[in-house]
């Protein structure tokens, strides 16, 4: 084999090694990208699931924590019996003989919580914004058995809808 032939052979071997390395590098990047994509999907799915559920879970937990006879009402912002455009969950508490009202409602892009005295005509923006949302609908349904079911329908800031039902167990009293 002459000098020219040997140099040509070396070049082909070198190119093949280089090509193999390039394929290897591309595969490494592809596997890494696949892993990153897979991880992103998992995180997105978890976040979506959490965000979707958090509003209804929060409201349901509040209702269950305040499940005392006559303490849970749904209606207008100032008084439950007066519709005023801000559907509100009222959770009443008797503290040293005075009735206090914890109000949970949706107002201008946020779920608010406000702790005030009963029937206080305070403005909705006086409350504490708890979390971003698109809407919160609350509906009270009374059954012949004397129990009340509260329907919660929430849309989170990303537009994901979720709904839940909570029975107010205290309404019918204690079985005997």
């Amino acid at each position: 084999m002459d000098m020219r032939g040997k140099l040509q052979k070396h070049n082909i071997e070198g190119v093949f090694v280089l090509l193999l390395f390039a394929v290897f590098a591309v595969t490494v990047v592809a596997v890494l990208a696949l892993g990153a994509n897979s991880y992103r999907n998992l995180v997105e799915r978890d976040n979506e699931s959490y965000n979707k559920r958090i509003i209804t879970s929060y409201v349901a937990a509040k209702i269950q924590n305040h499940d005392v006879q006559g303490a849970v009402r749904v209606g207008g912002f100032v008084r439950p019996e007066e519709e005023d455009g801000v559907p509100t969950l009222h959770l009443y508490q008797d503290i040293d003989g005075q009735i206090f009202d914890m109000r949970i409602y949706y107002y201008q892009g946020y779920i608010y919580e406000l702790f005030t005295t009963e029937s206080n005509s305070i403005k909705p923006d006086a409350g504490n914004p708890i979390m971003e949302a698109t809407s919160l609908a609350l509906q009270e349904e009374r059954f012949a058995q004397g129990k009340t079911l509260i329907h919660i329908h929430a849309v989170d800031a990303n537009g994901l809808e979720d709904s839940a039902e909570v029975t107010v167990r205290s309404e019918s009293g204690v079985a005997s």
Binding site: F24, K147, D162, A164, E165, V166, T167, A175, S176
Partner: protein, 172 residues
């Protein structure tokens, strides 16, 4: 003439070993990705299943187990059976109903001696790919107990829980 030997075969060998090791690692990683994705999807489905089970349970609690009403409201189906009451339990546990005796064959699993009442309810949620099945297992004067199971589209139980609700009540 003395030519230098090519180092390319050595580099090639090194790369082949590298690729083999990498292929093994990549295969394990891919399996892990797929498994993680499956676990995440299963978790999401179980979460939806528990939410649907809770919906059915809350309706049952609010209506004191009025299964025909709940079935109508949630577009489900209900079925009849005999309630397992304290009286029927006593009857089942009575010494003259020994297994294998003539009487024992007449005692149904769900109980005996009571009236035939709605005791099971199924509600389909095709949008979530789950089906909730509630079966009343025990009943007494003030309480009903039930098993709740949620099935996926393949008919496998993906979530199950027990519940109970109060019957009647009095003002405090």
């Amino acid at each position: 003439m003395n030519y230098e030997r090519s180092k390319a075969p050595l580099a090639l060998m090194e790369q082949i070993i590298m690729i083999l090791v990498f292929a093994l690692a990549a295969a394990i990683c891919l399996q892990a990705y797929v498994y993680a994705d499956k676990m995440s999807k299963d978790g999401q489905l179980r979460e939806r299943a528990s939410a649907r089970a809770r919906e059915v349970i809350e309706y049952c609690k609010a209506t004191e187990g009025d299964l025909p009403f709940v079935s109508g409201r949630l577009s489900g189906e209900y079925g009849f059976g005999t309630e397992r009451t304290p009286e029927s339990r006593e009857m089942q546990e009575a010494p003259d109903t020994e297994p294998g005796s003539e009487d024992a064959g007449d005692v149904p699993d769900t109980g005996a001696g009571g009236d035939t009442v709605p005791i099971w309810l199924t509600v389909d949620y095709p949008e979530d790919g789950v089906k909730v099945v509630l079966q009343v297992t025990d009943a007494d004067r003030v309480c009903r107990k039930a098993d709740v199971q949620v099935y996926d589209e393949g008919g496998e139980v993906i979530f199950s829980t027990r519940t109970a609700w109060q019957i009647g009540g009095r003002e405090r």
